[in-house]
């Protein structure tokens, strides 16, 4: 079985919700829809207080080339266009909508019927994706239409579908493949058409054997005029990283500072592929997200589909609330996610999970001096020297940091995870990287 070659760690996968089907979270009475749910410029609001909106109606148009549209996830009246404070204490522009009924915009197909035939031209497909506000749902939230229009000097020959889900605890992509396998396959075909290529590889980690088998059983139906492969991958974190996945699936290496597209591979997350299917075949923009709400002590952990703008606390209530003894609430997976102060923050395209962990898992060990054991170097999937980068960051030696390729760090956290001296290496490196990036930008 294949995997990427450099570095990586093996955290316990804890996929306790793998067999729990999706449940829908009820539409709340009021939603707060952030206007910056993506990398790049925030969307510009095109509604004002008092306007009536329907589900799927655009409420924010892209604010630049690298930006995405934002749509109303409910029908009702716009209460105000304002800013809100998220669970980390920072402010974001948003649109607050009071819910009245559940009326969808005309032209959106809300049924579950599968439409396999895609008649749209490549240009039309990209246009629809752009209008539907689709972003990479793997966590980075990079606008998808930008990825589908690679620079002219990159010749694309392969589409890699990221169904790795290497973060511990997370299972919503796994459930999506099992419950919406056909839709994902059609989505892959649509993306192949948009890119004008024939070859797609779906990379799935080997802990999702049922999903691999199910997708393989679907292949004969969808490989008449294109070449789609389902490839099981050996479990290793961070396999879901774009550069790591390209290396694992094709053996190609993304050079330092180059775009992943320079290797001829475009990577799309499986949830993004499903969103593309819905946008192109059903005219349905992203109004819902899927997420996993889990934790070892949680009463009924599960996978949920919820409207964007619903507070995360609604999903947390459905699993039986925050269990006693919870030390940390994490938005996203435990490796790359961010600890939250409260769950009273709206779900958005960036949200992939709420993980509730107790003291035994959450507590940081006592930091001691670097033992020079070199474990972090073995673990780093980018081939960097985290122990050195950490120390250089601590001492604000930015020139040296740049010489040691700190900008290549993908902030996966393998170094901190593996350090026997409990050194918070990523915390330091993150700081140093941010400074170096700023210096390079201003140069």
């Amino acid at each position: 079985m294949i995997t990427f070659k450099v570095g990586g760690v093996h955290p316990h996968d804890n996929k306790i919700t793998a067999s729990v089907p999706f449940k829908k979270v009820a539409v709340p009475t009021e939603v707060t829809i952030p206007l910056d749910q993506h990398i790049g410029a925030p969307a510009k609001p095109i509604v004002a207080a008092g306007d009536k909106v329907k589900v799927g109606q655009m409420i924010g148009e892209p604010g630049g080339f690298v930006s995405a549209a934002v749509h109303s996830s409910v029908s009702g009246t716009v209460k105000k266009v304002d800013k809100f404070r998220d669970a980390w204490g920072t402010y974001h522009p948003c649109v607050i909508i009071t819910v009245e009924g559940d009326e969808w915009l005309e032209g959106i197909d809300t049924t579950d019927t599968l439409i396999t035939e895609c008649t749209a031209e490549p240009k039309e497909i990209i246009d629809k994706i752009s209008k539907s506000g689709i972003v990479g749902l793997g966590g980075a939230c990079f606008p998808t239409q930008v990825k589908l229009m690679p620079p002219k000097d990159c010749t694309i020959d392969t589409l890699a579908v990221n169904a790795v889900e290497c973060e511990p605890y997370l299972t919503h992509n796994h459930r999506l493949m099992l419950e919406k396998g056909d839709e994902v396959m059609v989505g892959v075909q649509i993306l192949l058409k948009a890119l004008g290529i024939k070859k797609a590889i779906i990379g799935v980690e080997n802990n999702k054997k049922d999903a691999i088998e199910y997708l393989k059983s679907l292949l004969p139906k969808y490989t008449k005029d294109c070449d789609i492969k389902v490839v099981p991958l050996k479990m290793k974190y961070p396999q879901g990283g774009e550069k790591q996945l390209i290396q694992a699936l094709t053996g190609r290496i993304v050079r330092s500072g180059a775009l992943p597209a320079s290797t001829g591979v475009v990577v799309q997350n499986v949830a993004t592929v499903f969103a593309v299917y819905e946008a192109v075949q059903k005219n349905k923009p992203i109004v819902e997200i899927s997420l996993t709400v889990t934790g070892k002590k949680v009463k009924e952990p599960g996978n949920f589909i919820m409207r964007i703008g619903t507070p995360l606390s609604a999903a947390v209530e459905m699993v039986g609330g925050i269990p006693d003894g919870t030390e940390k609430l994490i938005c996203g997976g435990p490796m790359m996610g961010k600890a939250m102060i409260s769950t009273d923050t709206p779900a958005n395209k960036r949200t992939s999970a709420v993980v509730m962990i107790d003291e035994s898992e959450a507590k940081r060990g006592k930091e001691s001096n670097c033992a020079r054991c070199g474990k972090c170097i073995d673990a780093c999937p980018m081939g960097l020297e985290p122990y050195l980068l950490g120390t250089l960051s601590q001492r604000n030696m930015f020139d040296e940091l740049e010489k040691h390729y700190v900008y290549d760090c993908i902030e996966c956290g393998c170094c901190t995870f593996t350090c026997p001296c409990n050194r918070p290496l990523l915390d330091y490196i993150h700081q140093g990287k941010a400074n170096v990036m700023m210096i390079m930008k201003n140069r």
Partner: protein, 284 residues
């Protein structure tokens, strides 16, 4: 034999000396001798408060400049600039000595703590993760990045309350702490005699109701102080009051009307109860 060695070594020494002298003359770097003179006037702290990379760099800038306008060593102040002016034959403008103030009260009893941070004890790293242990996103994080940045030992963390204290006598107004604060809540203000200071010790720009929930001592933008001030020194922008040091006359009336105690007075003699009021009535 001994003689031969001495002669050979002497010849080598002579040739090297001539070579070195010739090279020195050929690759001589002409430097203005005034740079050294100016540098000797400077405090030599290399704090970067003047905006240059160090004291030497500042001296070079002074010598190159046509006038001393816009060039100021905040640590040395007017006196140093006058000395530099004397060397260079230029006049230096009077400068106001400055002192740093922390615009947050940081007393945890007054702002509800909602969570516990167990990461690296550094403001910058904590700020990259989230906004802090209280609900107020503008509040001082209290890990002391500014204390570390200060080269003059003017800042310290109060062991009891955890708030940052500024020693007005030691503070030179170089601004290192201002640059080190990721929350941007340190301000340089005019240094009054006896280190007296009156300012709004809050940076919360949220609306009053939200700010009040975050902290008991938050400025809620009620503009009571604006009405009270006779010298029009106080302005409110984004629900936050600011006292202009060029207009303020240290009458302390604003502090007495502030409903939340966001305006603080430092190093003043204690006001005797009710006496100032009587005088005012008599005057009116």
């Amino acid at each position: 034999m001994v003689l031969t060695s001495i002669i050979v070594l002497a010849v080598i020494g002579l040739v090297s000396a001539v070579l070195l002298y010739v090279l020195l003359q050929k690759f001589k770097v002409e430097e203005d001798p005034r740079i050294d003179q100016v540098q000797s006037c400077l405090p030599g702290a290399n704090c970067g408060g003047c905006g240059s990379a160090g004291c030497r760099n500042f001296a070079e800038r002074c010598v190159k400049a046509d006038s001393l306008d816009g060039l100021l060593c905040p640590v040395g102040g007017t006196e140093t600039m006058k000395n530099i002016g004397a060397i260079l034959g230029m006049t230096a403008a009077e400068s106001t000595p400055m002192v740093a103030v922390i615009k947050c009260q940081t007393i945890c009893n007054n702002r509800p703590t909602t969570n516990k941070y167990d990461g690296v004890r550094s403001c910058k790293i904590s700020q990259a993760v989230y906004s802090g242990e209280s609900t107020c996103p503008y509040s001082c994080l209290g890990f002391g990045d500014c204390v570390e940045a200060c080269q003059f030992g003017a800042l310290s963390i109060d062991a009891e309350t955890g708030s940052i204290k500024v020693d007005g006598d030691k503070c030179t107004g170089c601004g290192s702490c201002v640059k080190s604060c990721p929350k941007h809540i340190i301000e340089l203000r005019k240094k009054w005699p006896k280190n007296r200071q009156i300012y709004v010790k809050c940076s919360n720009t949220d609306k009053g109701a939200i700010a009040r929930k975050d902290c008991e001592n938050a400025c809620i933008g009620c503009s009571k102080c604006v009405k009270e001030c006779q010298f029009e020194a106080i302005t409110i922008t984004d629900n936050l009051a600011h006292i202009d040091t060029t207009k303020c006359r240290l009458c302390r009336k604003c502090a007495s009307v502030c409903p939340t105690g966001a305006i603080v007075v430092e190093n003043f003699p204690v006001i005797k109860p009710k006496e100032p009021d009587k005088k005012e009535e008599a005057g009116a």
